[in-house]
Symmetry: C2
Subunit: 213 residues, 2 copies
Amino acid sequence: MARPSRKGVEPEGDVRRKLLAGAAGLFASKGYAATTVREIVERAGVTKPVLYYYFRSKEGIFLELMREPLERFAALLDTATSEDGTARERIARLCVRAYEVFVEHLELARVMFAIYYGPPQGAPFVDFDASHIRFQDAVLKLLEEGIRRREFRKGNARDMMWAVIGAVNVAMEQELCRPRQSIGRGGTERMLGILFDGIALGKDEAKGRGKGR
Amino acid sequence: MARPSRKGVEPEGDVRRKLLAGAAGLFASKGYAATTVREIVERAGVTKPVLYYYFRSKEGIFLELMREPLERFAALLDTATSEDGTARERIARLCVRAYEVFVEHLELARVMFAIYYGPPQGAPFVDFDASHIRFQDAVLKLLEEGIRRREFRKGNARDMMWAVIGAVNVAMEQELCRPRQSIGRGGTERMLGILFDGIALGKDEAKGRGKGR
DNA sequence: GTCTATATTGAGATAGAC
DNA sequence: GTCTATCTCAATATAGAC
């Protein structure tokens, strides 16, 4: 006879993971407020009390979802400052890694973007701003070092930082809106190359210098 | 005696405008799904049937809100191609105008960004993608013209376009997230200057050329 | 841990008087 | 055009059996 108090014979923690995965997909495709607990549990093949058992509330499962990607991003920034190479290389490396973490967590990234740039949708507070500012600071530091090392011209490092952040963001946003025409890792690197080298043709350089571009 | 069937003595169309303004603020601060009809009508100082009388539904008032900004943006793009100046000037002019239209409609812009980059939140479909692609095309055309005119180096015009769009977007996004530290019109222009000129210090130009920066 | 059944609240929308 | 009163439905969350 089958054991009585087991039904789905789920491996350990599998229900929990299914709930998280389903919630991520739903939050990403409909938004936090428009997603109902009923949909989440249906997608996981369980009933409502199971969700409340594992996560206490709809807010609870949301917060649990945000945790891991934010931790990975923070870890990324921690390593960014302690590496070698030219400023160009280090900036490109940091940006490409941020882009890749983003792509790996595309669904949750969509939820985060929507809440960070847009209205919170009734979702519980998460300090996305802190992460973003840490990212900005990391890029700014690398740019300032590049200027000190005479790898970059003197100039407003903040403006440079915004242009760099803009390049990374646009690659991420394209991934969200038109993944079939993704800018990709390569495109991100080429954009950064443009920032470093410029696109203007100086009067004195009509023929030469067409190096990386 | 006072006229019987008038209460608030509202000027013509004032109730309608109040409903639109209130809805814009609420959609921007809470999101479409998380905003209730009750809140909208309370903010306008009327009751629910009034909203349904003017806009037929919650979706109706949303669509009405989206209309004007999208039309203004479309008009902007129409004029962008038929102007004179260098490619640099024309690109900067287009981008700065787009940025300014964005800032003028900051609340609605927030709602649009959230829905375009994120989940639709249960809001009715609006083709934001079409507008964005028209913007990309306008920038791309101007860049290609700049290359033909030897104002810019030969190179991948699409990559340049993304970098330009990224600069505009990051200015807009900063306006959404930290308006007190806005990049502003000036910052947007300086970012574009960086794209045009680059930030790298070539081996041959250690002393000269520090022009616009 | 997972279920059925239900409490409770508030949503979007409308009828019908004025 | 604007109100009061109400319909209908679905939401989050929980009680209590197994």
